[in-house]
């Protein structure tokens, strides 16, 4: 698989007064062509900030990229001029936001909102754009006759379909979906996931799926990055991560979800709270909550331990086999 997005040492900080919030710390990741990568982590793990820096839509100030590279198709996005970036945004990289209720313009028809994107990037007439907007609506399962309707005339699931139609209207090679189904009901979520799977097949675009739902990841992603305190703790294929998790945090994350298909008397809980992003612990960021913490973890940041070609973890103990029992 060709690597077409590569993030190296990305560091992003939010400043408010004298406080420096370390949102993303020295993050390395890569994404192959046609691959679906899941970003998993708790609130504040830096998932959305990473996504926004790929699109360069971080609110600046307060956010500031302190270092690192985001290499997309052989050019460093961080170094591009605003004009060059505008050509990539929407055309090459598009984003689906979490809340379809607020990400559409309430005073424009959905057809116009799709046209807006097409007219910005394609050299075509208004009429052709409207035609294409109708096609897009049909692709996401909405009757083209509804292009003249306003967002409030659609239900939540339908609005999210419109948002997907806008994102896909210029056939981007990378689609970033930030919790696309969190605001929806389960039966509607199932519809949207099914649609995204179909579209992934049809357009062959790569995708970054940001979610906290490990079920969605299992269903739709090829690879997973487990994020914590602004960095990736473990990365691997879905099989590696689900069947052979090596980082204690990954393991704990799996233990804390109630599983419909298993009977558990009590959920295992990670003690303590996620770290304060203004004061990230020294050494391994997970050490204050880790049941296997050693003296070394407190002072030294673990290097990446490669377990196989695609699977790695940042943990001193990652090499030890069978440390965790698999239920």
């Amino acid at each position: 698989m060709n690597v077409f997005l590569k993030i190296e040492g990305l560091t992003v900080e939010y400043r408010s007064g004298n406080r420096h919030v370390h949102a993303v710390n020295d993050l390395d990741l890569q994404l192959g062509e046609g691959e679906v990568l899941g970003f998993v982590g708790e609130t504040g793990a830096g998932k959305t900030t990473t996504a926004l820096s790929i699109l360069r839509i971080l609110p600046n100030p307060p956010a500031k990229v302190l270092g690192g590279k985001v290499i997309f198709k052989d050019q460093d996005i961080i170094q591009l001029s605003d004009r060059e970036m505008r050509a990539i945004r929407g055309e090459e990289i598009a984003m689906i936001f979490q809340d379809p209720m607020t990400s559409l313009d309430p005073v424009k028809t959905v057809g116009d909102q799709i046209c807006e994107m097409i007219l910005l990037h394609r050299n075509c007439s208004k009429k052709e754009a409207w035609e294409m907007a109708g096609d897009m609506l049909e692709t996401v399962g909405i009757d083209r006759g509804r292009a003249g309707d306003y967002p409030h005339q659609f239900s939540g699931g339908m609005k999210q379909r419109v948002v997907i139609a806008i994102a896909l209207s210029c056939k981007p090679s990378l689609l970033i979906a930030d919790e696309p189904t969190t605001a929806l009901d389960v039966t509607i979520q199932a519809q949207i996931l099914e649609l995204m799977k179909e579209l992934k097949k049809k357009y062959q675009s790569s995708m970054i799926m940001i979610t906290h739902d490990l079920g969605i990841v299992a269903e739709i992603c090829d690879n997973v990055a487990i994020m914590y305190a602004g960095g990736v703790l473990e990365y691997g294929s879905v099989m590696d991560i689900y069947k052979d998790p090596r980082h204690p945090y990954t393991r704990a994350l799996f233990d804390s979800i109630p599983d419909v298909h298993r009977d558990q008397a009590r959920l295992k809980v990670i003690s303590g709270l996620p770290p304060d992003p203004t004061d990230i612990p020294s050494g391994c960021p997970f050490h204050p909550r880790c049941p296997h913490c050693t003296e070394r973890c407190k002072t030294e940041k673990p290097e990446v331990v490669h377990l196989n070609e695609t699977h790695w973890a940042r943990c001193f103990l990652a090499q030890e086999e069978g440390r965790y029992e698999h239920e």
Partner: protein, 328 residues
């Protein structure tokens, strides 16, 4: 079998809207035994929260009965109801918006004591507040902190402390963990289960998350558009769902295991409007098994094996009744 603590009979709540009558809760009946948990699940707008609120009389019911230890609380006078509410409490969904941002943790928890236990000295009250903080796992040092200084999990602990300080017997938990991260969610679920054992509480647990409901409930009731469609103990409903809606709801949950690819039932379309619903089964517009009879008469809840189901497909005898009813 012990006496039910709470029995809801033919509960109805209609709201008048410009477009017509909105049937939020339509003829819902269930009972909860003392010390047990009933999980109420369904999608947004199915009336699950309204049911919880009508039981506490935060909304007045349009019809039906709510029997608490055999006494119909819908007929109580406001004064009697105030006394009753001491025994019946609620924990709300969003710990970010349900707490007054200008009150400290201590005064938030103390507030309900001030209302209900006049004549208690401030030292006694403080003792009680600290005791309940220990119980729900809030550090004593946080007594003078404000909600914005705390994370979601701690805020929800305040919500639970506020509900429990009056020593209730029955608690409505309205999506208590939906706004929390998975790890924090697990902490709060464990806390709720420990408290139930310790204080012999009875819960009505309202949620849209089936895995959470399964974890905490003894019995589970599924609602769709104001109607109860199926009720069974928590194992039966997952192993042997009867109603087509329950089946679809269960199959829609993404499974955190990449090796399993169960067949998924995708429901077409959206939930219909609860305003002036047409007669017949409410689910028929999205049901793949819909039959002509489904449009004629609403199915009644009937015993089917270990479950109670309202569906013409599962209960052939209900089709007969509907036919006979239609001819008359």
């Amino acid at each position: 079998m012990s006496e039910p603590l709470l029995e809801v009979r033919h509960l109805k709540k209609y709201f008048t809207t410009k477009k017509g009558l909105l049937h939020a809760v339509d003829d819902v009946s269930f009972s909860i035994e003392e010390g047990k948990t009933l999980g109420l699940v369904g999608e947004s707008g199915c009336g699950k929260s309204t049911t919880g609120r009508v039981i506490l009389r935060l909304h007045e019911a349009t019809g039906g009965e709510v029997l608490y230890r055999g006494r119909n609380i819908l007929e109580l006078s406001p004064r009697e109801m105030r006394e009753m509410r001491r025994k019946m409490q609620i924990v709300f969904q969003d710990p970010y918006s349900s707490l007054n941002p200008r009150m400290s943790v201590k005064s938030l928890i103390e507030e309900s004591l001030l209302q209900r236990s006049r004549g208690m000295s401030s030292a006694e009250r403080e003792q009680k507040v600290l005791a309940i903080m220990d119980l729900v796992g809030l550090e004593r040092r946080l007594a003078y902190a404000f909600p914005h200084e705390l994370d979601g999990g701690r805020r929800q602990r305040i919500g639970i402390a506020r509900a429990l300080i009056l020593e209730p017997e029955f608690v409505v938990l309205d999506e208590p963990v939906s706004a929390l991260d998975v790890c924090i969610q697990a902490q709060i679920l464990n806390l709720l289960m420990d408290l139930q054992k310790e204080l012999k509480l009875t819960y009505l647990f309202i949620s849209h998350n089936l895995s959470v409901v399964k974890h905490i409930s003894d019995e589970i009731a599924v609602m769709y558009l104001g109607k109860l469609v199926e009720k069974a103990d928590h194992e039966t409903i997952f192993k042997d769902p009867k109603h087509p809606y329950t089946k679809a709801l269960l199959s829609a949950i993404p499974i955190p295991d990449p090796t399993l690819h169960p067949e998924r039932i995708i429901l077409e379309g959206d939930v219909a409007s609860p305003i002036n619903p047409s007669p017949g089964c409410r689910f028929r517009t999205r049901c793949r098994h819909a039959m002509p009879v489904c449009g004629e008469a609403a199915p009644e809840l009937m015993q089917n094996g270990k479950s109670i189901v309202a569906c013409h497909l599962c209960n052939p005898q209900s089709v007969e009744t509907a036919r006979v009813g239609g001819q008359e």
